[in-house]
Amino acid sequence: MSECRKDNLVHFAVTIISKDRPGIVADTTEVLYRLGCNIEDSSCTMLGGDFAIILIVSHEKPFAKGRLVEEYKGLQERTGLSTYVRALSETEVCPVKEEGELCLVSVYGSDQPGIVYRVTRALADRKVNITDLNTRLIGTKEEPVYVLMLEAILPAGMAVEDVSELLENLRKELNVEITARSITPVSL
């Protein structure tokens, strides 16, 4: 949305994790529908054998967080999924719009501790803002391979080549493949 006027709304972050099965999203959102909550933003995906749901929901004021918590407690008892509800402050509600170039970084190589930490720390130190990230362990038991994919917005003045250069030392030190490429959307 180009403008962010939500003074009449109260917002919550809802996190739900459950052993994967068909119907988790439906069960979860049925509660919201019944309570009259709107889903403003969401991300749901399979993680290992679990299904993870993160939602930003809103409701017209007045609305007590306890109602959400209570409903999900019931669902939790019936189906075994685990939920967490947090009230959001007004400053958290509006998305931060950044204008820099969008970059995809892929990192993969033999599994070892610290791949995610080292890469993301190097990016954070240069004010690169990660917008999306996922990792997966692939390969075989004997030769596990770690794959990290992330999307990030580069700060003004930084180019994709700078990201490659920035991660070059890490590539050698960890002996992993690291490539960065521009995925800035084309405006049509």
Binding site: M1, S2, N134, R136, M149, P185, V186, S187, L188
Partner: protein, 168 residues
């Protein structure tokens, strides 16, 4: 005429089928001028289709020569009247955004090479072979003539390694 306002979804015209141009008259020339002005006005815009400015006719303009993706491989400014893709091959995925759907982008699969038949601004029959980003831009604009938005063509929810490798 000055640059026109770009309609944004859910404006109903964006989901309608545009009519072919029967005769190239002053009205069409005016429309082409409006499209060109609107394209030049849009920041980084490489194309505008008539339905995006509220005219349900099969006319669009494309120019990728100023874009870093298309600057080395293009036919310059294209005025496309009654355009029709008569051949397509290859496929590539690109993250597209659209002036008619602000604040959203998504990965769309398009042919990497197309043969396009159309009439130019003077009504002459033309045929070109477009590749790369120019081909993508043309396909995006032609979709507008059929009431199709890039949202109808998104192929990937996220940048999953496994889903992408087929396209490399």
């Amino acid at each position: 005429m000055p640059a026109q306002k770009i309609l944004t979804y859910p404006h109903p015209l964006l989901k309608k089928l545009a009519r072919p141009v029967i005769r190239l008259d002053d009205e069409i020339s005016g429309l082409v001028e409006d499209l060109l002005d609107t394209m030049r006005e849009g920041p980084g815009s490489v194309g505008v289709a008539a339905p995006q400015i509220g005219v349900l006719l099969r006319v669009c303009v494309v120019d990728v020569s100023g874009s870093k993706f298309g600057r080395d491989n293009n036919h310059g400014l294209l005025v496309l009247v009654n355009p029709e893709v008569i051949e397509r091959e290859g496929s590539a995925i690109m993250r597209e955004g659209c002036m008619s759907v602000p604040d959203y982008t998504g990965e769309v699969e398009r042919a990497t090479r197309i043969v396009l038949r159309y009439q130019d601004a003077d009504g002459s029959e033309k045929q070109i072979d477009a590749t790369g980003f120019e081909a993508v831009a043309i396909q995006h604009e032609l979709d507008h003539l059929d009431g199709v938005l890039f949202l109808d063509r998104i192929v990937s929810l996220k940048t999953g390694l496994f889903r992408r490798k087929n396209y490399r």
